[in-house]
Symmetry: C2
Subunit: 344 residues, 2 copies
Amino acid sequence: MSKIFVDACFGKETPYTPVWMMRQAGRYLPEYMKVRAEAGNFLNLCHNPKMACEVTLQPVDIIGVDAAILFSDILVIPDEMGMDLEFVAGEGPKFNDPIKTEADIDKLIGGEEAASKLTYVYDTIKLIKKELAEDKALIGFTGAPWTLATYMIEGEGTKTYNICKKMMYSNPELLHKILAKVTEVVKLYMQKQIEAGIDVVQIFDSWAAAIEPSKYDEFSWKYMVEIADYLKEKFPHIPIIMFPKGIPAFLDKVYGNFDVFGVDWSTPMALAKEKLGDRYVLQGNMEPCRLYSKEETTKCVEALQNIMQGKRHIFNLGHGILPDVSVENAKHFINECHRVSKKS
Amino acid sequence: MSKIFVDACFGKETPYTPVWMMRQAGRYLPEYMKVRAEAGNFLNLCHNPKMACEVTLQPVDIIGVDAAILFSDILVIPDEMGMDLEFVAGEGPKFNDPIKTEADIDKLIGGEEAASKLTYVYDTIKLIKKELAEDKALIGFTGAPWTLATYMIEGEGTKTYNICKKMMYSNPELLHKILAKVTEVVKLYMQKQIEAGIDVVQIFDSWAAAIEPSKYDEFSWKYMVEIADYLKEKFPHIPIIMFPKGIPAFLDKVYGNFDVFGVDWSTPMALAKEKLGDRYVLQGNMEPCRLYSKEETTKCVEALQNIMQGKRHIFNLGHGILPDVSVENAKHFINECHRVSKKS
């Protein structure tokens, strides 16, 4: 059975434009909060295939999205590379021993050994695939090497990225060594996600905007392209979505062997279409806070449909859904995307 | 005596391209830290004209910048509107009673009454003008109404701006009422700064990037333009610098009666020149973290000079200088700007 979401990723005509939401398996859903409470903490939920499968499927059943996205966290990768991830309540992720030296990098578990430790992710995927309706797609994902490296170097989330940047400008070789080691793990991690059953890959470069335009290719994009090349050679039938958050100033420079470009909400869709629409299917890009108002949601969905005309497009938010959005408004978004794009 | 910085703001030819740095009176300077410690806390420093004058002048003497910028904080405005600003150590600014309703807005002190309470700012300006060398300019500043409103509504700094956004999308009239009231105070505040002696105005829209492109004019830019119009009519000889951080995606839409557009580091200077260079003098835009490396600083200064060719340009960083930059490297930046742009 063909999956409308996979077809749309390859730019094929579909009966309507499919839609999903970043963070759709999340805190705005009471059903998610229930499982999350049972798990005790966020990391337990990532580590438990049965529970992770359950929350992955919730938005498909409750909200009616066209694709499920694996429930996990981008930081399981450095965790299994030996960095000992902790989620401190109210503070977010922490690594107590951030990377400072070449010796720190050498100590990290790399390649096949690290990728093989993520069995709970592959087990989750296998469970989901048993339960997910055949016409729905399952998206697997990873953080971009740069985005992962920011946490590995800073030890936590940061506003200024000053430790990473100091390394970028004064010791770029060290930063490249980290990025190369993470890239090797990510390649094998995504290969194993595909072998376990995911239908689509999304690479999240959540902190793309932390790098100045003239350095972005060197420190982030080229590693994402390397991962895409590796996967495309082995699995040409698996679409790849690239989502760099916050690079509207240099869309002209985007290149590489992937299928879908994820447009964040800071980038006008018309600009993305002009610069990239011929080369890539575009995903996005409603400002997630529009979900606070049904009227503003409808206006935005209609404006996006008007720009994209139901061609080479996947509806999504331009960033993750926020926890205080109502389930009713989230459903309204999905319904409106289907309504405006349905071919009669 | 003509001030090179003021001439440059009006696009006149100058013997070299002037330079200053956002946050140049700041924590990277040991001399600043000393005064800051004597003041006890940040707000005391803003309230004390003698100390505020001293730290304003430090970077002129120590680093050699071409303009001083008044030492103050954008949040003194809502503070004097009656919102009771607090700086909690390690957490940043706090308003304990954020604005939620129309009644909360009506309670705020507005217009002339609020602007008249900021005497310590005007006194600081008068002191600085007595001590500042005649060929150096003094920049006064304000936060944009939108940026100020984010703190007034959220009560503190925020990552998601979800309270403001909920208001923007579900109750835009209320948000406009706040913005209009703040705009009235800002107009008179800047008028009084000019009357006290500042040579140039800069309007900081630090959180411009929090608004989606299609809503930016409505909720921020048009209020900044209103302020600029008000000031230009009264004081055409005072240049106005607009600095909206993070709007590279829609530079085409920039309009209004001001002189200099401040280019943040996420916006390639060549793009800003292409879109705005004919209409505005451009200020910026080195990534502040380049200051960690003298070599990377020089490369960037040379690249900027190469693009701007010493015409209609003011050197600056693309955001504030960080506290862990060395004084030596900051001086190197200033020297390099002068070296590459000096007309022989």
